[in-house]
Amino acid sequence: MKRIGVFVCHCGTNIAATVDVEKVAESARHLPHVVFATTYKFMCADPGQKLIADAIREHALNRVVVAACSPHMHERTFRKAVERAGVNPYLMEVANVREQCSWVHRDKPVGTEKAAALVAAAVAKVARNVPLESGKLPVERRALVVGGGIAGIQAALDIAESGYHVTIVEREQSVGGRMAQLDKTFPTLDCSSCILTPKMVDVGHHPMIEICSYSEIESVEGYVGNFEVTIRRKATSVDPDVCTGCGECWNRCPVKKLPSSFNMDLGHRPAIYVDFPQAIPNVPVIDRANCTYYLRDGKCRVCEKVCPTKAIDFTLEDRLVKERFGAIVMATGFQTASLQQYPEWGLGTYPDVVTGLHFERLVSSTGPTEGKIKRPSDGKEPKSVVFVLCAGSRDEARGRSYCSKACCMYSAKQAILLREKIPQAQAHVFYMDIRTAGKDYEEFYMRAKEEYGVNYIRGRVAKVYPEKDHLVVRGEDTLLGRPVAVEADMVVLAAAIEPRADAAALAQKVGISYNRDHFFSEAHPKLRPVESNTGGVFLAGCCQGPKDIPETVAQASAAAAKVVQMFSKDALVSEAQLASVNEAWCIGCFLCQPVCPYKAIQPKEIEERRGRDKIKRTVSSVNTGLCQGCGACAVACPSGAMRLNGFTDEQILAEVDAVCL
């Protein structure tokens, strides 16, 4: 016997002003199974919840509809309220009469009629609800951090300091990431390596942190609390247990002139190398594509000969390592746009047109020029440098509509560094808008203009071309309204910050969503900014969107806090509104399997009685640890065996019928 109670909220005047709540309650009283309906000023407040509980007892209600604000707001509140009164929480439905009615329709009779229809739909649905139970999931209390830049380092340290084991997977030879490539940082001008390397040393030594450098994620299986991750540990040709990092090998390697990606190809490295002198781990790797031993059939072997500890092992192979983790922090960072779509700026055509990251290496004392700013073409000290902001950012026409956020500030910093190192050089910055939202940022920008005499020109550069021994930068000074040409020895493009080229592929492996620009999507732009949409996967740093170092560190710590919060629980509560199979109806066609984004559907053998015989038959079964409740399987199922609890066909069709009447 279904006994439904309907509770219509006034929400102060938010609902009651444009919806006649009494009329809505009255119309609800005539709906099938409704035995009680009332209204109250604030249903979500304590007295409101008590009112619901009392009514449940008094009228022996076994199902409840609350007509109030959006379920995104208070569905959980009301589920708990009915649960406390002894009703299964999934026998409660919310009719959204505020966001979808009172706030968007001013005409009271119209709003009232629609509110009544929405209540009728919720009543029709709840009449078909069945009690659901949440399950419990165990948690593997080990975290995986993908990416060893500042975001990954910070997240790993915070999790490890809370007493949980962390594995960092880093693609390059060393952790450190982009921050290790930077010279100084804004707005304090403190040295990037000086503040980063101590943290690198910390992760290197921490007993709870394992660094898998020169490694990549091969595959991710499993679900929140129970991920099974395969890590590809690329062959380094060096035994890390024996190597002391003495440097004999990389100093003596005869192949010396390979482009160093750490130095943005502006400098060289040998075939056996560490990314930079402070590398963690301080164990070199052999670049097999360029090593003489591998190219010429076992010739050379210089490194092997000079190694005092016999750490070189040419026979090492890639290893696939399978490990279990309870949570994953994605911290894969960014790259700068190649700007191939902008031939008019000449990056890649004229050697003296570089990106901001190149410029960092040219001012850095650990860089190829040992901190002397020299232009790449002829090593001449530049007397005039043009910085171009929004190079590839804020350009919908060529595919990137977003602002890269850090460029205004780092270009101001680079202009200052130029003026400090070469006082007689001129620094020009072409900008459209200057964005300095951050503590002490505006002041820093003003210093660039006032103290360092950086010349800011409002306008976007139209073209860069060579003339004699310099470059000409053409654009409009929009404040003058005149065409301008600036002669420059170097042009530094603040190239757009974009996710790593393989970000989307990695997201698919891990099972998280990403946006149009391939930045990973957070679960909620405001309230859940460090969680992904997939349980147990968290986001930190530029892989989620462009940001500067302080923001990255803050987000990394936040992600770590979320991981620690998860690990502090005995078990995880699983979602109750998941798919389930009616095995008797399942024909074993497995059309549901490929549409499941979580690989939650597996074949299962069952025994069935047919006449006198027992037969074996394969049907679908749902792994409730993996299922997230999207319902794609239920649509794909031709026999109607697959159902999505909480959103069954009967429930949705009942709603459709009710709103159409």
Binding site: Y342, P343, E344, G346, T349, K463, Y465, P466, E467, K468
Partner: protein, 289 residues
Amino acid sequence: MKLAYYPGCSLCGTAREYNISTIKVSEKLGIELEEIPDWSCCGATSAHTSSPLLGVALPARNLAIAEEMGLDVAAPCAACYHNLSAARVKMDRDHLLRKRIEEIIDRKYRGKVKVLPLAEVILSRVGLDAVRDSLVHPLAGLKMAAYYGCLMVRPKGIVDFDDPENPTKLDQIMEAAGGEMVDWSHKTECCGASLSLTGTELCVDLVGRILERAAEEGAECIVTACPFCQANLDMRQAEAATKLKTDFRLPVLYFTQLLGIALGLPAGELGLDSHVVDPRPLLREKGLI
């Protein structure tokens, strides 16, 4: 391979040598050109700058005739290519416009034929290998700057011949013909030809900037596919040099003329005598004629 040929007004007048060399080179490369019967002017810039409908209707008449022939159109002139292509795209995008134009020109138009610049025909239908195979006098040692101008490459979507900022297709063809191409920055800067009769001073400035950059990169001549660019860069050259107080002398040739030489066509048939900056001394010096 057979194509409908749309020479356009310029190729029947000031750009005669482009027409002659186009026909000869096509013959040599096995491209059969059938002139669109009784073709009319495409309207150049004048039509669409004063009436959007006329700007589509004039080229549409020719497209409709080509459609009756059942042939894609080869248009060597950059301006004609641009106008025919623009009319085609506009009618493709706007069904109602197509209907109005059909009414105006009183002909059926279904949008079935493609419009190709001659360079594209050579590149994608003949192929560079075929060009290389037919070389008789490779243009060895001749340093050229390919100049594309505006109409061949802009705007994207209206024309789709090549990249609007750094086109390379003429370079590819001339390289296949054995020439040495200079990589330079002003391939697509406007030369102001549409202001040739009305804003002569402006034109001289623009021509000067372009030629100066080509000379600086070591080019000995310019190759182009646009009659307006050719005329403008050729005829305004002396004035531009005087204004810039330099003395560059860069012959400005149609790519078909030089391709003709490379394919072994008699120099006398390529209209080499019709330029203001005479290319023959340079070509003789390089042993090409």
